[in-house]
Symmetry: C2
Subunit: 356 residues, 2 copies
């Protein structure tokens, strides 16, 4: 790796043990061995076990490997939605899940509020079979609270709930018992290169999918019954991204060893000092008004002159995130992921306050 530090919210700074594990993976020929060999079956098993422990994933969940969170939207719609889903959107990514459902021809609906705004209506059409929510909207730094998710669960016991945990997991505690499926890509908080998605699925999803499979096509190799058929044997239908599955398991294990509580507490500490800087800085202000909804992993600030910030830090070898989409020119985004040490965030805060 170069000497730069990436505070971009994904693709992001690689996890600090990444290169070490990569070397070991190559030494063990992980990219060349058979994906049906006992060695690789053990790799999948270890990655699954590490993720299960790290995320405190309930027993009734299975873990499947996809290639991106985009693919998770695709597969959720294909497998779990017959006619309609309902989405809560207040940023580019939550909106995209809704768009995907519509593109698949579903009669989906959306509660759309302005980017970064909190939701005040929780009405959901009766027809919706699945509710799509986003734990951490990476584009604008808005987080659903655990209370809101629990409330949605309580008032919609019969609908499936799909939770986007991209850039949330494992930094923010998530109670997966309140949802039925969740997904993330590894290039955010896990500090891996992009190219792998993880799909978490409980037994209610399996029931819905097998029910639907009797009368309709759920796709092919990544139809849920097929994923389950192979997943139950710690295998995948196709030759998967073996190297990243290995690396994800190793990094998840490192995070377990470091202590997930510590990682989550450090996340709060680092978010607190970053938020303080936004409050103290004359040229910055919070984008998300509602304090309890401000993301702790993706700090987003309004900046009068985004370029000035980005260029200032670029010269010091520090890469900040620009705003997403329409916000490119008036937001800065700062990732606060497990690989970012307290010291590196403290240094960043100092520099921000010292800049002209």
């Amino acid at each position: 790796m170069s000497n730069k530090i990436y505070f971009t919210p994904g693709p992001a700074q690689l996890f600090y043990t990444f290169e070490e594990h990569l070397k070991r993976a190559l030494f063990q020929d992980i990219p060349s061995i058979s994906h049906r060999s006992s060695t690789f079956i053990k790799v999948i098993q270890e990655t699954n076990e590490a993720l299960r422990e790290l995320l405190a994933l309930p027993e009734n969940y299975d873990i499947y490997f996809l290639n991106s969170a985009n693919e998770a939207w695709d597969r959720i719609v294909q497998n779990l939605v017959e006619n309609s889903s309902h989405h809560f959107a207040n940023g580019a990514f939550s909106k995209k899940f809704y768009d995907f459902a519509r593109e698949h021809g579903k009669q989906s609906t959306c509660t759309e509020v302005g980017d970064g705004h909190a939701f005040d209506s929780w009405d959901i059409p009766e027809a919706a079979e699945l509710i799509g929510i986003t734990k951490n909207e990476t584009s604008v730094g808005f987080s659903f609270t655990e209370e809101e998710i629990a409330k949605l669960r309580a008032s919609n016991p019969d609908k499936l709930i799909a939770l986007d945990v991209v850039s949330a997991t494992p930094s923010l505690p998530v109670d997966f018992k309140n949802v039925d499926t969740a997904y993330f890509s590894v290039q955010k908080a896990f500090g891996l290169p992009p190219g792998l998605g993880v799909w978490l699925v409980n037994e209610r999803c399996h029931e819905v999918a097998s029910g639907r499979a009797k009368s309709t096509s759920l796709g092919s190799y990544r139809a849920l019954p097929n994923l389950k058929k192979f997943g139950d044997k710690n295998q995948t239908p196709e030759t998967p991204n073996m190297l990243y599955i290995y690396l994800l398991g190793k990094i998840a294990q490192d995070m377990i060893n470091a202590g997930i509580r510590r990682i989550q507490n450090d996340t709060i500490y680092k978010a607190t000092i970053l938020n303080q800087v936004i409050e103290d800085h004359p040229q910055l202000s919070h984008f998300v008004d509602s304090k309890p909804h401000r993301s702790k992993t993706t700090i987003v600030a309004n900046a009068e002159d985004t370029d000035k910030f980005i260029t200032f830090f670029e010269k010091k070898g520090i890469v900040l995130g620009a705003g997403y989409g329409d916000h490119k020119k008036n937001h800065i985004r700062i990732a606060n992921f497990p690989t970012h040490s307290k010291e590196s965030i403290e240094m960043l805060c100092d520099l921000m306050l010292k800049m002209e």
Copy 2:
């Protein structure tokens, strides 16, 4: 990498320049930079240009990145087949493409002959919109000849032809003018880890897809019109497997520098001596009867005692492929890819002849 040599037909031996390029990629932070940055747009552009030159890809083709050949089957069916496709199957992979189409609910048909048998009937139902053929059936070492493909093109000018070039490209010359779409995964002849697929698509496919898009869903982020929208700007709809796209471009460029003619001629030489060993060896015989259809990149032999061969070579740090699926116990498969030097294949041949 360990000191082992993998002659398995995928996942396979990594290309000999892989680690060098990987180091450079990490030094340049390829996995951390933005996938929308000008740096990464240039990576995609360079990879596309290198592939185009290496494969002698006609001007009317576009190149898109998927995650596997399995996904290519999925996307071809979703995007290009309204009601029915027709498939030529004589092994596990050609059969799977047909299975995928059926699983997607298509009324597809299949000319199925025994594994590794040559086709003698070329009749195709009028209803078939697309013909699926497999240049190199990796499971049993059967190759379609270029003449057969040209003949299919000539007698089916109005149907789309999809050619599976997994484990064929770039070792075998393929005239892409005779087909409309082709695809491969990178863990075979390109010597990369698994996790990236490449989809080649000509303008006829775009026409079919945009026509169908008016009345039906082609999926979402990887609907062909969407791939084209981003691809025309050297971008991808989602955050892709950036590292492997970079590495694929570098390895393709290395192959251009080495000379594609030389690679293809060496492939013939290495296949010739391997085939000679199969003829000379008392315990081996060719699986594919028809000589012109024997694969030059995936040499498959009937073996009286497969385990004996595999164990003998394993002790020497050489990994041979077992048979695929039902053939596991009575075939050995030997990959003959660009990373396998003439010397390594000569050594393998010597050892095979010397073994008891």
